[in-house]
């Protein structure tokens, strides 16, 4: 449970989903089989997603129509991903997860460089990060691609009906592809998939960063649920591990909202990038055997 608290707090402070932290913690730290770690992680992801999306919806930040339209594809892809996960050997999954960790580390470095180039304060991103498991480190809080005035809405009426106040959706087809990828990644590795969805919505579809983050959180619950049901029925969820970890993550993410102003986030982020790289190496070694 204390590991879950730490994972929840770190994840919320850094704007990351729990899965990136929980799966290595359970596999490398506690020796759990990869699939059981993914099963526990999916449960954690759903808990934090439900809590965060609840707040976002009541504050009218998330785009419900866009989220539901895209989650048709994330859910179907998560279904496929869940089935694939039970066909692949643990070792292969571990190596693929190591690649995912490196990708996350790389995107955090790029986001940091982008923030430094803009001279943006780090604190703002963190303040909204607690209980927002998939804030997506790829672009910062200030990485908004604002309204889609430069490009015509090529997807016609459907895209227009999914647009929100002050922005217009475009590139819906590429958004669908991104959603399919996010669903598979979620079910294979026990992550929310926000690392894919947030940049796709923000940079490709023209959704403001804040709305993309909130909408991603909304979608994560259904995506992880579709994958989680396969893990549940196929014995991939250990209740003795999943329950304490999920409660720990929830508590940790809640605590982080009170700590966000007191933490030196640039230092924490650098430390975390180093941890991700080391963890990726250990995960790859585990995969290689």
């Amino acid at each position: 449970m204390s590991g879950g608290v730490a994972a929840g707090a770190f994840g919320a402070l850094l704007g990351l989903g729990g899965g990136v932290l929980i799966v290595p913690l359970l596999t490398l730290g506690f020796g759990l089989p990869f699939r059981e770690a993914v099963g526990a992680s999916l449960v954690c992801v759903i808990v934090t997603s439900s809590a965060a999306a609840s707040v976002y919806l009541q504050r009218d930040v998330a785009n419900l129509r866009l989220g539901m339209t895209l989650e048709m594809f994330t859910a179907i892809a998560a279904l496929a991903g869940g089935l694939i996960a039970f066909m692949l050997p643990d070792r292969v999954l571990a190596i693929m997860f190591a690649a995912l960790l490196l990708y996350v580390a790389l995107t955090m470095v790029r986001a940091r460089d982008a923030r430094e180039a803009r001279g943006v304060s780090e604190g703002r991103a963190a303040a909204g990060g607690a209980l927002a498991p998939e804030d997506g480190p790829v672009v910062g809080d200030d990485g908004d691609r604002e309204t889609a005035t430069a490009e015509p809405a090529i997807d016609g009426g459907l895209a227009a009906s999914l647009s929100g106040p002050g922005y217009r959706i475009h590139n819906l087809g590429r958004g669908v592809l991104g959603s399919l990828l996010a669903g598979i990644v979620s079910a294979l590795f026990g992550v929310g998939g926000g690392i894919v969805k947030v940049p796709v919505m923000n940079l490709i579809m023209g959704v403001p960063m804040r709305v993309a983050t909130a909408t991603s959180n909304l979608m994560i619950g259904v995506t992880a649920s579709a994958g989680g049901l396969i893990y549940l029925f196929r014995g991939g969820i250990d209740p003795y591990v999943a329950a304490p970890t999920a409660v720990g993550v929830f508590v940790g993410a809640s605590l982080a909202s009170r700590l966000a102003d007191r933490v030196d986030l640039p230092v924490l982020r650098l430390l975390f990038i180093a941890v991700l790289v080391v963890t990726a190496a250990q995960m790859a070694l585990r995969g290689i055997g």
Partner: protein, 116 residues
Amino acid sequence: MNDARLERTIGLVLGAGAIISFCLLAIGIAGMGVTHVGPLDRPFPPFDLNRLGSDLVALNPAGFLWLGLLAVILTPSVRVLASLLGFAAAGERRMVAVAAIVLAAICLSAALGAGG
């Protein structure tokens, strides 16, 4: 039902689901402590819907843990169902169809998971 009201209603559904799940899991974890069950104890109790009721009546921690985990996993589905009803009440057929497809995908996951 207008969009803002629907979103607030769905937000409340999600919040309630999170709180109910949290409470059930917390009861189960407390039960683990009382019965001296550790998180890494093996084998863990398998998920069996037929045993859930009797485990709960017997105050077996596994019953509360599984019910809490079910509540966690099904909360997003309840959200989708609430959305479907809200859009149906508003006469938005396209969004009703979208919600129905999402629900169907979730049901298919459960069926394929149980069937495997």
